[in-house]
């Protein structure tokens, strides 16, 4: 008997306690429940993970009660832990705990402290259900649960209508994806007569032929779900707006865990995808397109969190791309390293934002490296990993992806590889730009008066420790990854070998090239940046890129506005169907009025008509 069930149960308990006490607990208690439950779960994960790695079994299973049995449908609350889940659970609880810890300081001045941790714990629980469920319905429970928490946390500052809008947008857009996912579930059930993941995979391996249409449809539907949750083209528009949430939320949900659920889903359903080259190609293309679009967009953003959001999108694009070209292990590896360094980047940016009076515009920062050394170092390390400087974790994972893409024997491998490399170059470019605008150059505006006693102060222990741990993971996480990911899939994992062929050197050199070019463009005074800005052409391009390539606008014009128009103008508020019944009513009252005109109240008139009627009746009788 192992304690597998306790991993999700701990955050759930935290959620329940915080929910039922309605925010009446003092802040320290809330912090210890909120962060502590996730911390305990992380410790437990470590323990179980160690047990798992050292045992021979391929999976740990923990059954509890039956959810429902109807006809063929038989689903239970049954947890399943294998290598893939373990990586995910490790990331969720580990990184999750660090972010929770950081948030105890970050959120200390905000209203609704308890509510925040309540939602956060619920999120961790839902995310754990997503990755640990042994059937697709349980996965869907987690899937929707994280969507809900994402909604609640984006709209956490519920007094601001724009944030509410962003939250709803996130929920509805991902729900479009979820619809694909649930239809995929229906179809799978139709085919397999079971929603159990392992049953499904077995079925795929044994009963489906390569390239079968039904399998491709299932895969594409699954991809639709993944695209929604992971903010890939074409359902990516919600992620930048989701930055309305508090920064720890962005770090946990919109960078490290929830948005990678799509990657997890595809990896989990690997056997289906392996049988469908078309679907694999789609995954790769979706990843690449997102990668490019997001990178270009990140290049012209002025909001530091939006830069990171687009960066997240592009990095997940990398993961999709990896899955699409068959680099399963590399994709998952990148998921893990990305969770480390992106969480670090977000947390660091959060500290900067707090220090700047909630100012997120990078053009109003500048020269902060002296004043905010801790966030600066954190940001620096995170950026290094993001641009994949050698020996950081990001380097290993990205390198593995690019290498695999090059070796992939598809018709498009060269093209794919080229695009991916260009995107890597762009990544360094926007990262350098972000660093340059934020930390270097001249200060553009006043900073918050930093009080030593405020809990969120960047040098407080609850800020520094998560930074330090995440920084260590961002650098050393690469080495950790080999151990984990080696056992994930049949593709022999990722190897820590250095290649010295031209391709490898190129991938090695691209980040440096990007950094150097970026330095000249954004940091040094050698180049007059105004040339870039004044140019009319570049203005147009930057406007286009800045708006996220016009997706928002297109959706607004095509879907949102027409729907609003027919719904909110008074066109049909009173329900056209009712007109029919109103017509009946109208006719009835019309006849009523006509008939009541005969009722004059003159008795003699009545008598007269009665006699007249009598006459009519008689005449009828006589002549007919």
């Amino acid at each position: 008997m192992h304690l597998l069930w306790a991993i999700p149960a701990l955050p759930l308990a935290g959620f329940l306690i915080l929910f039922l006490t309605e925010g009446r607990l003092p802040k320290p208690v809330v912090s210890s429940i909120g962060a502590g439950s996730v911390g305990l779960a992380a410790l437990l994960t470590g323990y179980i993970g160690w047990q798992f790695v050292s045992s021979d079994t391929t999976e740990f299973v923990s059954s509890s009660w039956t959810w429902m049995i109807v006809g063929d449908l038989d689903v239970s609350f049954r947890l399943w832990l294998d290598e893939l889940s373990l990586v995910m659970v490790g990331v969720i609880t580990g990184v999750g705990f660090l972010i929770h810890w950081y948030a105890t300081g970050y959120m200390s001045d905000e209203e609704g402290y308890s509510r925040f941790f309540c939602y956060m714990n619920l999120f961790v629980f839902a995310m754990l259900m997503l990755v640990m469920g042994d059937n697709l319905l349980l996965l869907f429970l987690g899937w929707e649960g994280v969507g809900l928490c994402s909604y609640l946390l984006i709209g956490f500052f519920h007094k601001i209508p724009e944030f509410g809008y962003a939250a709803r947008k996130a929920f509805v857009v991902t729900r479009v994806g979820d619809t694909f996912l649930i239809i995929a579930l229906f179809l799978l059930f139709h085919q397999v007569s079971s929603l159990n993941i392992q049953d499904g995979l077995l079925f795929a391996r044994e009963n489906m032929s390569e390239g079968s249409t039904i399998n491709t449809i299932i895969c594409l539907l699954l991809l639709g779900g993944a695209v929604g949750k992971s903010a890939q083209v074409p359902l990516q528009t919600w992620l930048p707006d989701a930055m309305a949430g508090p920064t720890p939320v962005s770090a946990l949900i919109h960078a490290a865990t929830m948005v990678t659920a799509g990657v997890y889903l595809i990896a989990r359903m690997q056997d289906f995808f392996l049988l469908s080259p078309t679907a694999m190609l789609c995954v790769a293309v979706v990843g690449l397109v997102t990668l490019l679009i997001a990178s270009f967009t990140a290049l012209v953003q002025s909001d530091i969190k939006r830069v990171l959001a687009y960066s997240t999108m592009s990095q997940i694009g990398y993961m999709f791309f990896a899955l699409g070209v068959g680099a399963w292990s590399a994709g998952l590896f990148h998921l893990m390293t990305h969770a480390f360094f992106k969480a670090l980047l977000f947390l660091a940016s959060g500290s900067v934002i707090l220090a700047m009076h909630h100012e997120q515009n990078m053009f109003k920062m500048g020269g902060l490296w002296k004043k905010l050394p801790v966030p600066f170092i954190g940001m620096l390390v995170g950026s290094a990993a993001l641009v994949a400087l050698p020996l950081t974790s990001g380097f290993f994972s990205k390198d593995a992806i690019l290498l695999k893409a090059w070796k992939n024997d598809s018709d498009f491998s060269t093209l794919f590889w080229t695009v991916a490399v260009i995107a890597a170059f762009l990544t360094s470019l926007y990262t350098v730009r972000m660093m340059a605008l934020t930390f270097f150059g001249k200060p553009q505006s006043e900073m918050h008066e930093l009080k030593k006693e405020s809990l969120w102060h960047p040098s407080r222990i609850r800020t520094v420790v998560p930074f330090a741990l995440l920084a260590v993971l961002s650098i050393a996480g690469g080495w950790l990854g080999f151990e984990f990911t080696g056992r994930l899939f049949d593709d022999k994992g990722v190897h820590a070998e250095l290649h010295f062929d031209p391709i490898a050197l190129l991938t090695l050199g691209i980040p440096f090239a990007g950094v150097v070019v970026g330095y000249f463009l954004f940091a040094s005074d050698l180049l007059d940046r105004r040339i870039l800005i004044k140019n009319r052409m570049s203005e147009l391009v930057s406007k286009f890129w800045g708006s996220g390539w016009g997706f928002d606008k297109a959706y607004d014009t095509m879907i949102v506005n027409p729907f609003r128009f027919i719904a909110q103008t008074r066109l049909n508020r009173n329900d056209v169907v009712d007109l029919f019944f109103k017509l009946i009513k109208f006719l009835a009252s019309l006849f009523h009025h006509i008939l009541s005109m005969f009722q004059t109240g003159h008795i003699r008139w009545y008598a007269f008509t009665m006699l007249g009627g009598l006459l009519l009746v008689l005449l009828t009788v006589v002549w007919i």
């Binding site: 007269f608 007249g612 009598l614 006459l615 005449l619 009788v621």
Partner: protein
């Protein structure tokens, strides 16, 4: 002899009926009505329905018309009302009802004449005893219903009258 009696009674009934509906003085009209009713009673007798004739006299002429007279006296419809009546009975008002009555007469009469093998009434007397037998056997339900009707009328009349009294007491 009896036949002539019938036609005489019929003539009296028609004449007095016309007079009754055209009088301006209510009391006079009621007296004419009594005469009509008596003539009809005579006809009933001739037709061999002595019980109906008796009821006609006792209840109609005796009770109902007297009730009318009471009301007329109670409302004090004296000379002034006669003047008002003559004002109301303008000749123009007669035309349409007269035409309608005429047409009805023609149609009805046509109908009556349609009856083939028209039989004569021989004046076979149906005594009260026989009427009673049938009334309380075959028409028992009708008697019950008539009883209910009379009760309802009693309650209704009582109610109408009582409210009148109460309200008058208030003023």
């Amino acid at each position: 002899m009896s036949v002539w009696l019938f036609y005489i009674a019929a003539g009296v009934a028609i004449t007095t009926a016309i007079l009754a509906v055209t009088r301006k003085n209510a009391s006079h009209a009621l007296i004419y009505l009594v005469v009509t009713l008596l003539s009809i009673a005579v006809i009933f007798f001739l037709l061999g329905a002595p019980f109906a004739a008796a009821l006609e006299i006792v209840i109609y002429a005796g009770a109902i018309v007297v009730l009318f007279l009471f009301v007329v006296m109670m409302l004090n419809l004296g000379r002034s009302s006669v003047a008002r009546e003559s004002q109301w009975l303008r000749p123009g008002m007669w035309v349409l009802p007269a035409i309608l009555s005429g047409v009805l007469f023609v149609v009805f009469g046509f109908e009556v004449l349609q009856v083939e093998n028209s039989a004569k009434i021989e004046g076979q007397v149906v005594p009260p005893k026989e009427v009673g037998k049938v009334l309380f056997h075959e028409y028992l339900l009708g008697v019950e219903l008539a009883g209910v009707l009379l009760l309802a009328a009693l309650v209704g009349a009582f109610h109408l009258g009582r409210r009148y009294l109460e309200e008058r007491r208030e003023t």
